[in-house]
Symmetry: C2
Subunit: 438 residues, 2 copies
């Protein structure tokens, strides 16, 4: 059984629905389909979801609200007409608009997936199954155990279905949205609940690239990678696959493919638990971090110091991306944009916490680069080779962190060196792989 | 003005006192002397301090107590006689023994330094100044500010003095000991209080070695190093100079020399704020650590997780030597001997803290190796070179951590690889320095 999830661009109009239908009909195992809301195409520059957000934001303004609703209605009914479908959307849409002022944000914005899924269900001749009937969310995170119980009761194992992605119900019965790109997670959860043989994630790109194409010329496609590697890539900002979507497929070891609806024969990227052929799977990075360096004699001797530091970060809602600590210091690596909102306050509070003999220094404009690979423990020379590349080319490496339990090596460099460093590392890896030193 | 501190072996008997006197007389700037308690020599296999500890422990046993006291008395009075001194030790000793049952541990054990200092003061013709008159301790740590105030009131700037090391008074007026080897700290504090030009630390070794002579054949002497480098070496177990002694000299940038009373012309080691000539200053390590690896999906997303983890470590009195954390894991590096006392409890508590989806794994039998150098930022290739040495020789590197704000690179290796790894690194550095690649 294959769970196939289609993203918004694969659903942008009749032409795209057509492609989806061909794909589904080409493989009888594609029995459970998950859809996002209609995306944008040339004729429609705004995604259905963004239109719904604008509608909600302007619900108190009759004129603006009417404009947004009109575009939503036209878009959906045009598709219905183009595909010669009969589902009673007209009534549902009017009812939705009439009730708008009683709807929560989630109830409004989720209608993109809701209506798109109904259209797809009729178009494929599959059963429409609403996500609120089984998908349980707890603070925007999927509660797999509760979802499993509800899903089993629906008994959908042998029924071809279409599910709307992106939303579910919390334990109090309120509709909740997942983070943006949540349909990846809906698909992944359904693949988990059904113990699928394969989870296909159909997008508008033929798989995941080994580096950011805006920074690296024509980076190679990653043919295959592990869940852990994907997780590191997703954490560092890879947008092709939502981070939260990884756990459900990883837990059940469900092979997952990232594919392109517009080029269905392109190989895409496969995520599974097997080792791949490449030396380095991906090189990803993020700019604009700050290293908060707290140095105090014997900082780690008093057990409570770290507790107090992390409490403070928590009080200021400062997410600490990475930390490294030793006897007399701790480095907290945070996003500069987050820090800047609270910089003065943080300094104040740290000063109160450590009134004497404590140096607090900030290293700003730092970029993080992660080289992700499942080969670091088998080929330990990789780490020194990568550092050497940076050193030889006068990249000022701010820190290096690597652990043998980890599928990544993390480098800190200056923002100014970021692109150069990424390119150096990419070119090095490419050359190394070409001369077959793998 | 020079503050000269003499360790126990430099004070073990009349012969050693003689050497100290020559040294002091050879340089008229050696006006402020700090002494440990008499150490051991061939005739006396037990240090005076250990004899005092045994006396205190056996104070309820008249027979044993009398034996220990007798040895203490004989030792001190023999020295007094050998040096033809007149200080009234006989009465003080009898008084001390009579009051033994009313004395605190600190009041008993500190008498080694107290009596030794009185003998030295008369022998040199210097004034004896008791540490309780100025040295303020707060939970066994020196309170520099309060000490400064009390010391200034004594007005000792131009008076040649002898001070006993190792103890002081807390704010409640109770005597307190410093950690063992605390006389290093007493000397360092007095150097700070007097704004000394130089702090001489006279021991029985001619300076600090670049590696442990038990593991490395004839390691070179470190000619010069910075306070920060010394601190890293001390933290990793270097015993020549007490870790707590570094802050007072570093704060006032007081050059410090580690010298050998028995070979006063040997150059020893100089600690100051200037860059040295060597590539790597020292290679030190410690065995028997455990890496507690806590892996949980999005561990760092919930701010309170780290707070709870460190609280738990604190509740279990588990000192965390190093930590590294990323989005979904934290590595806590602790001494195995500490962990083993509480391993089951720690697992229980972590399980309670993270009841689902959390993997806790222990990597035991880990050794830490620190390469200490002030050259890492100027010569970044050093880091990759060192890692390469380990990799090429099939040392399984468990983790690498380096930060450009740091004067060390920290490696984790298996206990079984510890000595080999240290030797490899030492030989590499030695060769590199010989061929003048510095």
């Amino acid at each position: 059984m294959i769970i196939a999830k289609f993203g918004g661009s694969s659903l942008a109009g009749a032409h795209q629905f057509n492609k989806v239908k061909s794909l589904v009909q080409n493989n009888p195992n594609r029995t459970h389909i998950v859809v996002s809301a209609m995306g944008k195409d040339e004729a429609n520059p705004v995604k259905l979801t963004d239109e719904l957000i604008a509608l909600y934001d302007n619900r108190a303004n009759d004129e603006l609200a009417a404009e947004h609703f009109e575009r939503i209605k036209v878009r959906l009914l045009t598709l219905k007409k183009d595909l010669a479908l009969t589902v009673n959307l007209d009534y549902q849409l009017e009812d939705f608009y009439r009730n708008l002022n009683h709807l929560s944000y989630a109830e409004c914005v989720s209608r993109g997936e809701y209506f798109t899924a109904q259209l797809m269900a009729e178009y494929l001749g599959y059963q429409f199954v609403d996500a609120i009937d089984f998908l349980v969310l707890n603070q925007n995170q999927v509660d797999l155990k509760s979802s499993q119980e509800k899903f089993a009761a629906l008994n959908l194992q042998d029924t071809p279905c279409v599910f709307p992605g992106f939303y579910g119900l919390d334990n109090q019965g309120n509709m909740q949205l997942m983070p943006r790109s949540g349909s990846d997670t809906s698909g992944s959860v359904i693949a988990n609940l059904l113990d699928a043989d394969l989870y296909e994630n159909w997008t508008d790109v033929a798989g995941i690239k080994a580096a950011d194409p805006r920074l690296i010329d024509n980076p190679k496609r990653i043919e295959q990678l592990t869940y852990d590697e994907l997780q590191e890539l997703a954490y560092m900002g890879l947008s092709v696959f939502q981070e939260d979507a990884i756990k459900p497929i990883k837990d059940k070891n469900i092979p997952t493919r990232i594919l392109d609806t517009n080029h269905p024969d392109a190989l895409g990227t496969t995520i599974c638990n097997e080792f791949s052929n490449q030396l380095i799977t991906g090189l990803v990075g993020q700019q604009n971090y700050t290293i908060i360096h707290i140095k105090k004699f014997s900082l780690s001797r008093d057990y409570s110091n770290f507790v107090e530091i992390f409490k403070l970060m928590s009080d200021l809602s400062l997410a600490v991306s990475y930390t490294f600590s030793g006897k007399d210091h701790i480095d907290l690596i945070v996003e500069s944009s987050q820090l800047n909102k609270n910089k003065a306050l943080l300094f104040d509070k740290l000063q109160t916490l450590f009134p004497t003999d404590c140096q607090i220094t900030l290293k700003e404009d730092i970029s993080l680069i992660a080289a992700v690979s499942d080969k670091f423990s088998a080929k330990p020379y990789l780490v020194s080779d990568l550092i050497e590349q940076l050193n030889q080319n006068e990249i000022d490496v701010q820190f290096v962190n690597q652990s043998s339990t980890d599928v990544k090596v993390l480098f800190g460099v200056k923002n100014d060196d970021y692109i150069k460093a990424l390119q150096l590392l990419y070119n090095y890896v490419e050359k190394k792989e070409k001369i077959n030193l793998i």
